[in-house]
């Protein structure tokens, strides 16, 4: 390994009581990389995001971000460091307008002295400019996903975990979000996409990582990974 990876989980382990949700998972993400994280339901994908972003505490192993060990940092400290997540179900601040939702990370996440224009740029990026003063309850599902991503953008991530941002969306809406994530990636943000929609994952990812029952069973170029017999067994059965 020549350069230090942006993100590195080493032998990451998480248990819920006697249930091992993550079992010594090694996972790396390079700067600006697009990684797809897939696996059947209950395989530990969201748990992994939780441990990486700090909403869950790992029981074993370590998480590194750039040159810093972060697995004992609070979630908000990890956000400040540049590691941001979005949620499986959109979680807007429902009492605040779209623009005010973005003011939260503007104030708390991205460093001082940034202007209101950051909010406008983020709204422009996701295409919500016209909904600036709308309340979250008046937004459609796909707009709520966009709001989540805009909020993440304002936090100025270097690495973004996108947890099933496309679940339940129509074909064209999936394409919209996909294009949006590509734009964010072109801006230099490394993205880990957790997704069940294979069409989207394969179109997006430069690399695929597969979790099954808390263990990583494959990690590599999408075509190779999808051709892997163990992966096919996990998805399709014997």
């Amino acid at each position: 390994m020549s350069a230090l990876p942006l993100f590195r989980a080493e032998r990451l382990t998480k248990r819920f009581g006697g249930f091992v949700a993550l079992d010594s998972v090694d996972f790396q993400v390079g700067a600006g990389e697009r990684v797809g994280l897939i696996g059947p339901n209950g395989s530990g994908k969201t748990t992994f995001v939780g441990c990486a972003s700090g909403s869950l505490r790992n029981h074993g192993g370590a998480v590194w971000f750039k040159d810093r060990r972060i697995d004992r940092l609070l979630p908000n400290e990890r956000v400040r460091a540049g590691l941001v997540r979005s949620f499986q179900l959109p979680r807007p601040f429902r009492g605040l307008t779209v623009a005010e939702n973005l003011r939260v990370p503007l104030f708390f996440a991205g460093g001082r002295g940034r202007e209101e224009t950051t909010i406008d740029e983020a709204l422009e990026l996701v295409g919500l400019t016209a909904r600036r003063e709308a309340m979250p309850q008046d937004l459609t599902q796909v707009d709520l996903r966009k709001l989540d991503l805009a909020r993440a953008t304002v936090a100025r991530p270097q690495l973004l975990f996108v947890d099933e941002a496309m679940a339940g969306l129509s074909h064209s809406e999936v394409d919209e979000i996909l294009a949006l994530l590509m734009r964010m990636n072109e801006g230099g943000v490394a993205i880990v996409m957790i997704e069940h929609i294979m069409r989207a994952v394969t179109a997006f990812s430069q690399r695929l990582v597969v979790l099954v029952a808390g263990r990583k069973i494959a990690d590599g170029v999408p075509d190779d990974v999808l051709a892997n017999l163990e992966v096919q067994r996990a998805y399709l059965g014997e």
Partner: protein
């Protein structure tokens, strides 16, 4: 900044007008009743900083109030200090206890946090009841100084101080609402997990809220021994303090400073009137009925009913 100073000026003016009006009536009873109402303005606003802005329900209002009161009693036993100093001391002690309570309990959410604060009140009451230095279960007399310069009577002086404290609490509440701190509070109230994921330092913000809220309650409690002149634990820790301090913001509206002020002025005054004209027992019944009515019919409080709720000012 300029709009804040203008706001502060208006609040001071309103307070001054209120004080002048009470003097004009020329009856000490107005001050006795007014003191209680103002005390509730402070308690309701203080409760609202944690309960309304951040969304953490504190049932231990009486504990913080009594901490202020008994800090005053303990200090008064050591040296005769002026009331403003006792209020500051009560604020510091209650603020520190607020900080500690926050640190120990803020991992608890929702109803569990509320129960923990109720437990705090029970524990503190037990401690005070068994602490003879401050009177223990037998209670303690607080002798008011005979002469007080400038003011006509001691109760007038106490009302003045409570009014000043109310101005400070309202100003601080408004400052919070229009600042980034308030934005962080709202984010925590709406969705704490999302707030963390958006960079909001939730633990630090919640500790600021518990400390501020506790400190103001303690400051409001410091003059209590001199108001009742005989203080004993069961009255200092009376649950009605918590019930009222929660009911007032809920009835007025919890999203801004005006809600608790309005709730405290209306409900507090109504209680004083009912106490005199009907009975002191009926006033709690009224609180209960109003509380149920508002929670069911107008969860946004009077502010919501009047269409004043608005959204957070975009500063």
């Amino acid at each position: 900044m300029i709009s804040f100073l203008r706001f502060l000026g208006l609040v001071v003016l309103a307070a001054a007008a209120l004080f002048a009006a009470m003097r004009a009536v020329g009856n000490d009873y107005v001050f006795y009743a007014g003191y209680t109402v103002l005390e509730y303005v402070v308690l309701a606003c203080a409760w609202n900083i944690l309960g309304g802005y951040v969304g953490y329900v504190n049932f231990g209002v009486a504990a913080f109030l009594a901490l202020g009161a008994y800090t005053g009693v303990a200090l008064g036993k050591i040296a005769p200090l002026p009331l403003p100093v006792l209020m500051l001391a009560g604020g510091v002690v209650a603020g520190l206890v607020g900080l500690g309570t926050g640190y120990l309990t803020l991992r608890l959410r929702g109803i569990f946090f509320a129960i923990a604060t109720l437990a705090l009140a029970v524990v503190l009451q037990t401690v005070i009841t068994n602490w003879d230095f401050v009177g223990g279960s037998a209670g303690v007399y607080a002798i008011r100084p005979k002469h007080i310069p400038v003011f006509g009577s001691y109760i007038e002086y106490m009302v003045f101080l409570m009014l000043a404290l109310a101005v400070i609490v309202v100003a601080v509440s408004r400052a919070i609402e229009t600042s980034g701190l308030g934005l962080g509070f709202v984010a925590i109230r709406e969705d704490e997990v999302a707030a963390e994921a958006t960079g909001v330092p939730t633990l630090r913000l919640k500790l600021i809220a518990t400390t501020l809220s506790g400190a103001f309650m303690g400051m409001a409690g410091a003059p209590l021994p001199y108001y009742v002149t005989f203080l004993e634990p069961s009255s200092a820790f009376n649950l009605s303090y918590a019930v009222n301090s929660i009911a007032m913001p809920l009835i007025g509206g919890t999203t801004g400073w005006f809600g608790p002020v309005l709730g405290a002025l209306l409900l507090g005054t109504a209680q004083q009137v009912v106490t005199v004209t009907i009975s002191s027992e009926v006033n709690l019944l009224i609180v209960g009925l109003l509380l149920i009515g508002f929670v069911v019919l107008a969860p946004q409080g009077l502010i919501g009913l009047l269409g004043l709720a608005g959204r957070r000012r975009a500063s």
